[in-house]
């Protein structure tokens, strides 16, 4: 049984979980859609954190993988008329896994900044393909007219039920990612981040560990891409470019890299800010984002989550 101490420790998580489950039916549709978006980007950011925060691989092309998942599913629906979610979604995710496996082979030849530059280029490759291959992707206008997924039985999604669908999928994925970070494999990734030389000398095939992590990360980015496609109804090349990758990376850094849940907090903070600030001054959003990033790096070292944890620990011990 949980004792009082443990209850206090987990209280914030329980409150958050209850909020996500109970409150949405009473929310305005705009807020509901904001919440759905937060969940989807939380998954994308957490998938990046597995390689960025845990393995220390600075991937700068994560939105590209997200785009592969979204575009593959979208093209199957629009160009090939495969409307069943049970076919189009797994196909999109599988394609993301395949592309990750190829990108990983190329990118893992480099380390640190070189890895970053290669993933940057590979991400842009997805972006340019989406931009140029008009017949399939719709070019700069994007692939539009995608509806909520068709699950087969006579059930059609509303924005509320799609929110719950997203919540369940993201929760399952987040739980699997959590298990991975707590496993021997997840700890090995941290070891590689801290000292790859030492890990090799302890008997680890570090390349293989990094490669597997890169593919797993791609898989969850693909899931996020498919969720986003059906949520947004449209996928554009700009969803897959380096600016989008940069935002995901900022979510990880701002929330606290190497903490998994921090990435979700980063998603909540940046998605909310983007939403509210662009209502008032759309053109100044990047400027404000930059200022926030600098402030967090300077004043909240390690990101928001580690600081929140410290604060909660103090409060709960009073």
């Amino acid at each position: 049984m949980l004792d009082k101490q443990q209850l206090l420790r987990f209280a914030p998580y329980i409150v958050l979980g209850l909020f996500l489950m109970i409150v949405p039916p009473f929310l305005d549709i705009a807020v509901l859609s904001l919440l759905t978006k937060i969940l989807i980007f939380a998954l994308l950011a957490m998938s990046l954190d597995l390689i960025y925060g845990y393995a220390g691989l600075w991937s700068f092309g994560h939105a590209g993988l997200f785009g592969v998942g979204a575009y593959t599913t979208g093209i199957l629906i629009k160009s090939y008329g495969i409307t069943s979610f049970w076919l189009s979604a797994p196909a999109g995710i599988l394609m993301t896994v395949l592309v990750s496996a190829i990108f990983g082979l190329i990118a893992l030849r480099g380390v640190a900044l070189y890895f970053l530059l290669i993933t940057f280029a590979l991400g842009q490759l997805v972006y340019v393909t989406a931009f140029q291959w008009r017949a399939m992707t719709g070019g700069s206008a994007g692939l539009l007219g995608i509806f909520y997924p068709d699950l087969g039985f006579s059930f059609s999604f509303s924005s509320l039920s799609y929110y719950y669908f997203t919540l369940v999928v993201v929760a399952i994925c987040a739980f699997v990612l959590y298990l991975i970070t707590k496993s021997p494999f997840g700890h090995s990734l941290q070891g590689i981040r801290e000292s790859e030389t030492r890990m090799r000398h302890l008997g680890y095939n570090t390349w293989l560990h990094k490669y597997i992590a890169f593919i797993i990360s791609g898989l969850f980015a693909g899931v996020a891409g498919v969720l986003y496609l059906h949520f947004n109804g449209i996928i554009m090349p700009s969803n897959a470019n380096f600016a989008a990758s940069g935002v995901v990376m900022l979510m990880v850094i701002i929330g606290g890299s190497g903490t998994l849940w921090g990435a979700a907090i980063g998603s909540a903070v940046l998605t909310c800010l983007a939403y509210f600030i662009s209502i008032f001054t759309p053109e100044r959003w990047p400027l404000i984002l930059g200022a926030i990033f600098v402030a967090i790096v300077m004043f909240l070292r390690g990101g928001i989550l580690p600081q929140l944890r410290r604060l909660w620990l103090k409060v709960s011990q009073l």
Binding site: V176, P184, S188, R198, L202, I212
Partner: protein
């Protein structure tokens, strides 16, 4: 069967020849020290033997198997382990995690993704045993960065010992320790190493005499002398390298 057999290993960085036709062998249970002045190629030799640097010419056999071009992790799974002259630990992980990572390195569990690391009780038991050997069990939840340099040197050797190696290679185990620290360190080393086949390089002659049965002298990339510690101590050529000739000293 020899534990280690090195035949004509050479290595150069650009035009600089660092190792030239190094050959030697080691039998099970032996404790061999590698000495030589700065820049003699001691660490380079260790790096080639552990696979950290590619071996460009010559052949290396480990426990009867050719490992000349085998990646590091393969040599480790055969039974090799090494430590580093410059602390190469996992600074932002706890002591316990450091050791557990070392213990699971040669086990299939290292690829397990969906079970918690704490489910592997025997890895933790082994880690506890090791940390208790150097008196750091109480500090198991501290980060490496919280340890003194001397304690980090202990961890350096502990990580190498975790896999119960058949050949243990230590690079300057007492690097950076003061004279008074070294005395305690030597006693601890004796206990830790036990009957393990040991190959180590060192500057500190106290460490060499305390631990080695056989000493090899590396000078400008070649082994110029080997023998018992006493023989090496009285070898005129070695004395010349370390102390200089009379003409130079004059």
């Amino acid at each position: 069967m020899s534990v280690l057999e090195v035949e004509n290993v050479s290595q150069s960085f650009g035009g600089l020849k660092v190792l030239e036709n190094v050959s030697f062998r080691m039998e099970a249970g032996e404790r061999v020290a590698l000495i030589g002045p700065n820049g003699a190629g001691k660490t380079t030799l260790l790096n080639v033997l552990s696979g950290h640097l590619p071996c460009r010419s010559g052949r290396i056999h480990l426990l009867g198997q050719e490992v000349t071009h085998m990646p590091t992790y393969g040599r480790i799974s055969l039974g090799l382990a090494r430590s580093f002259q410059i602390n190469t630990l996992f600074p932002n992980l706890s002591l316990l995690t450091n050791v557990v990572l070392a213990v699971q390195g040669t086990k299939p569990a290292r690829f397990q993704m969906l079970r918690s690391i704490t489910a592997y009780g025997d890895n933790f038991a082994r880690a506890k045993e090791l940390l208790e050997l150097v008196g750091l069990w109480e500090k198991r939840d501290d980060l490496i960065t919280a340890l003194s340099h001397g304690q980090q040197r202990h961890m350096e050797i502990l990580l190498a010992l975790a896999s119960k190696p058949k050949l243990l290679m230590l690079d300057e185990p007492s690097a950076g320790l003061s004279t008074s620290e070294t005395t305690g360190f030597i006693d601890m080393m004796r206990g830790l190493v036990g009957g393990t086949t040991l190959f180590f390089c060192a500057h500190d002659m106290d460490v060499v005499f305390a631990l080695a049965e056989r000493v090899m002298v590396l000078y400008y990339g070649g082994i110029i002398a080997q023998g018992t510690p006493e023989e090496i101590q009285n070898n005129p050529k070695v004395r010349e390298i370390y102390l200089g000739t009379q003409a130079e000293n004059a």
